[in-house]
Symmetry: C2
Subunit: 189 residues, 2 copies
């Protein structure tokens, strides 16, 4: 927890730029859910915006539609099993999904009603921008980032530096089934 | 060229899933352009759809709006300099942009009017789905994939296998400035 540092909002897009798989979390009236989403993407620089595809079958979607807030966070290689599990089971089918998966949630000051998943490498809180056509036709949600943090061991001063941190903190990039890639070597030109 | 093999359309989303930076290309009435876009994302499985953010300043955008076709292709680590260049210069400012960057284009049978960039690792041709609100408000374009190919050295049978190919063929993940990451190790759970 003591590694978590704020990210300037005009640099938050860089958290999403590398295309890592995300965990989406939300809370409404004390009910939490977390799901996996590979289809999250930056949409604008400043104010920072993002899109995320959330199918109608997801319990998390109901929470977002009611609370108008969602979190995109970047799980690490060490959380691959958790990501697969959160992406495979719906809270509609297992109300105890989060306990069963042993998901640890926390909150940040000023956002006491927004659940963040522990041990990820970065967190972005979004205010939903309602877009009924996109949500209905494409399951596509748009949000504006209102706060962001990162684990300073892998992201600080607006830049990722995975090469200076334990490999277990690298981001995950989902292919299919149980198959992921970790982010790799830096390439500077 | 002899490594290029078709990708089944219902597996095409896996090309985008790992969140690599893309090159966007388009042609209208014999005029080509190619730009870099980190903000491309899968949107649906079948038919495969994708979103891509293309600012109004880009020449490529005009070509897409006129031809209703665009290509998302995944450049490799070896093409990092090319990607940075194509992302920094607009054809509006330098009509000889493609020649100056030494971009090599090719086409595939059945799609003779769609320019693909050589030496990438994967290519997806999209038919634009016109979404005037998204395009104007967010610079967000939606497309349906009508054809896809990949370099079989890194993607075959619906799966990436970078670990079996030269490292120069790994995908690029853009952060900012001249700073990229290559995709890294496989992680299977």
């Amino acid at each position: 927890m003591h590694h978590i540092k704020p990210v300037e909002l005009d640099k938050a897009y860089r958290l999403l730029n590398i295309g890592a798989t995300t965990l989406v979390s939300a809370r409404h009236e004390g009910v939490d859910d977390v799901m996996a989403a590979a289809w999250a993407c930056a949409l604008d620089l400043s104010p920072a915006k993002a899109t995320v595809v959330i199918d109608k079958s997801h319990f998390t979607r109901d929470l977002i539609e009611q609370s108008n807030v969602f979190v995109l966070q970047l799980p690490t290689v060490e959380q691959a099993e958790l990501v697969l599990r959160l992406g495979s089971v719906s809270r509609h089918d297992d109300p105890k999904k989060l306990e069963a998966a042993d998901v640890k949630l926390f909150t940040m000051p000023g956002f006491e009603n927004v659940p963040l998943v522990r041990d990820c490498s970065a967190w972005m809180i979004f205010k939903r921008i309602p877009e009924p056509h996109n949500e209905q036709a494409y399951d596509l949600f748009v949000g504006e980032c209102v706060a962001a943090w990162a684990d300073e061991r892998v992201f600080s001063d607006g830049h990722w530096h995975f090469e200076k941190a334990p490999d277990g903190l690298r981001t995950l990039h989902y292919v299919a089934g149980g198959h992921f890639y970790a982010i790799g070597s830096a390439k500077d030109v």
